[in-house]
């Protein structure tokens, strides 16, 4: 459960996030949709506690991310905007390292790693060093280490960006599975199809503000368009949308 109230972030004279409010509930997939530069990544960075908001509040399962960032971070699994790997560590070692940093150890940790290797179909690469991994393989490792502590809340910044069809489908499958497990999943994207295919609720962000919130149906109704893409264009004032 994520609650966001009046979030503002400025960089010098530029207001990147300008009063964002929303909620993301457990057992639902919430999509943060917006064109490039709309403030999605900045919003997420404040949500996972690496950026301090100038104004506003973020609470994850009731924990304030500014007052207790580590408490909040222990409850969330995050795929940040940048997710580089350590080229000399194997996939399994990446997941183990993050698991230990989350406070797991011993048989619990090893069991959890095995589950993730299975779930993310990483058997072939689990004990290979990350150097030379394909984009999709790197994404799997990044997801694996983000989810190692079995977090209740999951935030993914553009999880399918640059993936091929097969990997994209695998990630979508994972997101649906997490919803079934009752987790709160928030992911950002600038890709319409993705959001409409997966999300229970959509938050459309444009120029640092929330332009619309609701189910895909509600958003179509609000704008009077019967197609989500047209609705998106109308809301964000864009002439063209990346699909």
């Amino acid at each position: 459960m994520i609650e966001v109230r009046g979030l503002v972030k400025r960089f010098g004279d530029v207001t990147a996030v300008d009063g964002v409010d929303f909620e993301a509930a457990d057992g639902e997939v919430t999509g943060l949709l917006g064109p490039n530069g709309a403030g999605k990544t900045t919003t997420l960075r404040m949500l996972y506690g690496l950026m301090k908001p100038d104004l506003g509040q973020v609470r994850v399962d009731g924990i304030d991310t500014v007052a207790d960032p580590q408490g909040a971070q222990g409850r969330m699994g995050v795929l940040p905007d940048s997710h580089g790997l350590y080229l000399r560590l194997t996939a399994r070692e990446h997941i183990r390292y993050f698991g230990q940093l989350q406070g797991l150890s011993g048989a619990d940790l090893e069991g959890r790693i095995s589950v993730l290797v299975e779930q993310l179909d990483m058997g072939a690469i689990a004990d290979r060093r990350a150097e030379g991994f394909s984009h999709g393989e790197r994404m799997k490792v990044s997801l694996g280490r983000a989810l190692v502590h079995d977090p209740r809340t999951v935030m993914l910044d553009e999880p399918t960006n640059g993936l091929d069809v097969q990997s994209t489908r695998a990630v979508r499958g994972l997101i649906r599975q997490m919803r079934t497990d009752g987790r709160c999943v928030l992911f950002s994207s600038h890709i319409m199809q993705e959001v409409s295919a997966l999300c229970d609720r959509i938050i459309i962000i444009s120029a640092g503000r929330v332009a619309a919130v609701g189910t895909p149906e509600q958003i179509k109704q609000q704008t009077g368009h019967d197609n989500l893409e047209d609705a998106f264009v109308a809301l964000t004032g864009l002439d063209e949308v990346t699909t």
């Binding site: 960075r45 996972y48 506690g49 690496l50 950026m51 301090k52 960032p69 580590q70 408490g71 971070q73 222990g74 969330m76 995050v78 795929l79 940040p80 905007d81 940048s82 997710h83 580089g84 790997l85 350590y86 080229l87 000399r88 560590l89 070692e93 390292y97 993050f98 230990q100 940093l101 989350q102 406070g103 060093r129 990044s142 280490r145 983000a146």
Partner: protein
């Protein structure tokens, strides 16, 4: 506890990095190379000094002097008439010119002149020139004494004052000046050994975009930096130990005693060197981690840190130009304090407990300060996200 996790990961990562391992392994080889080189140089010079040929112009005027040279084991060769040109063109290091009036003056009991033509700006010739000068002087004194004795006068009358030089430097201290580069290289090892790990753990994280996911874990920045710092320090300390080991190995294979150089490195010296230097590893790695955190890439960090490498050389160069002195404040200054202690330990000087404490405690404390600064840097959004 989380620091231990980070420490272990950085250690494994570092050990798998050929660059980190090679620099920690290759640097210690410098000692055997330098010492072998120096040994050969010294031996060569000793050999050369005995093989000086003495070029003399007008040798036939002073046959007794020539005889004296040869009895002392030097070969007399014919010198050129234009002695100055020959020295200028480096045909000879020096030329002795026996003056035309030599025979006359000598037999009349007047001071007979011998010109020693040399080039004072040629350092490499100075040893040979000094040798020739002292040979001629020695001959002159001998002849003078014989003349006085022949007249029934004690030669001591002509030498009213004698100078007895008392060099209070022990043989070990004099030898220590020969090996003044040893402290410098051991101190450099602390800066070399952990450098790559320090860079990889900071600027490297930024360059490969792995910092953001790392920081999302519920671990304090201080714990993260502490683990990274300890890993880099470990590499640094290993490099120091290897460097010292290779020094001992090299010294064991060089017959220093034959050259009149005494450098005793026993248990006391080994303990002293390690005690003074290992804490410096903590400071060197700490400073490197702090500076490298400002860099966005490995290359940028390398530029900063190679400038830092000059730091351990400064005390050595000051000491080689003039005396460093021994003010107490020098001891807690990293690298400088180590230089002072290492020079004393290798020179066989006694070291006070207070001095040791100052040197041993200051570096880890300053290292911890660097950890604290770096931890704060990692709080800054410009460092975490700036690329």
């Amino acid at each position: 506890m989380r620091s231990l996790t980070v420490f272990r990961k950085e250690l494994v990562d570092g050990l798998r990095d050929r660059r980190s391992v090679l620099s920690a392994l290759l640097f210690p080889l410098l000692f055997p190379l330098l010492i072998t080189f120096m040994f050969n140089k010294i031996a060569e010079r000793d050999r050369e000094a005995h093989e000086i040929d003495i070029p003399v112009y007008g040798a036939e005027r002073a046959l007794d002097l020539m005889d004296w040279f040869e009895r002392r084991g030097y070969d007399v060769v014919d010198g050129p008439e234009d002695a100055q040109a020959a020295v200028r063109d480096k045909v000879h290091d020096f030329v002795l010119v026996i003056s035309a009036d030599f025979v006359e003056d000598f037999e009349a009991g007047r001071t007979a002149d011998v010109e020693l033509v040399h080039d004072g700006s040629r350092k490499e010739a100075s040893q040979a020139v000094n040798r020739a000068r002292s040979l001629v002087r020695e001959y002159g004194r001998l002849v003078g004494n014989l003349r006085l004795i022949a007249r029934g006068i004690s030669p001591q009358l002509g030498n009213p004052i004698g100078i007895d030089e008392v060099d209070i430097a022990s043989a070990r201290q004099r030898s220590a000046s020969w090996f003044s580069f040893i402290p410098m290289i051991i101190i450099m090892a602390t800066f070399i050994g952990g450098m790559n790990v320090a860079i990889d753990a900071t600027a490297g994280e930024r360059e490969r975009s792995s910092l953001e996911p790392l920081l999302v874990n519920p671990v304090s920045r201080r714990s993260l930096v502490l683990g990274k710092w300890l890993a880099a320090s470990m590499f640094s300390a290993a490099c120091v130990a290897l460097t010292l080991g290779s020094l001992l190995l090299a010294l064991a294979h060089v017959p220093l005693q034959q050259l009149g150089i005494q450098l005793h490195i026993g248990t006391r010296e080994i303990v002293g060197v390690l005690l003074a230097t290992l804490p410096l590893s903590l400071f060197a790695s700490g400073l490197q981690i702090t500076l490298a955190s400002f860099a966005r890439s490995y290359k940028e960090a390398q530029t900063y840190l190679s400038m830092l490498m000059l730091m351990p050389m400064i005390p050595h160069f000051i000491a080689s130009m003039s005396s460093l002195g021994d003010a107490w404040w020098m001891l807690p200054v990293p690298a400088l304090g180590q230089h002072v202690i290492l020079t004393d330990v290798l020179g066989g000087e006694p070291i006070g407990v207070g001095s040791v404490l100052l040197v041993v405690l200051s570096s880890p404390l300053l290292g911890l300060l660097c950890v604290e600064i770096t931890a704060r840097l990692f709080e800054r959004e410009r460092i975490v996200f700036g690329r």
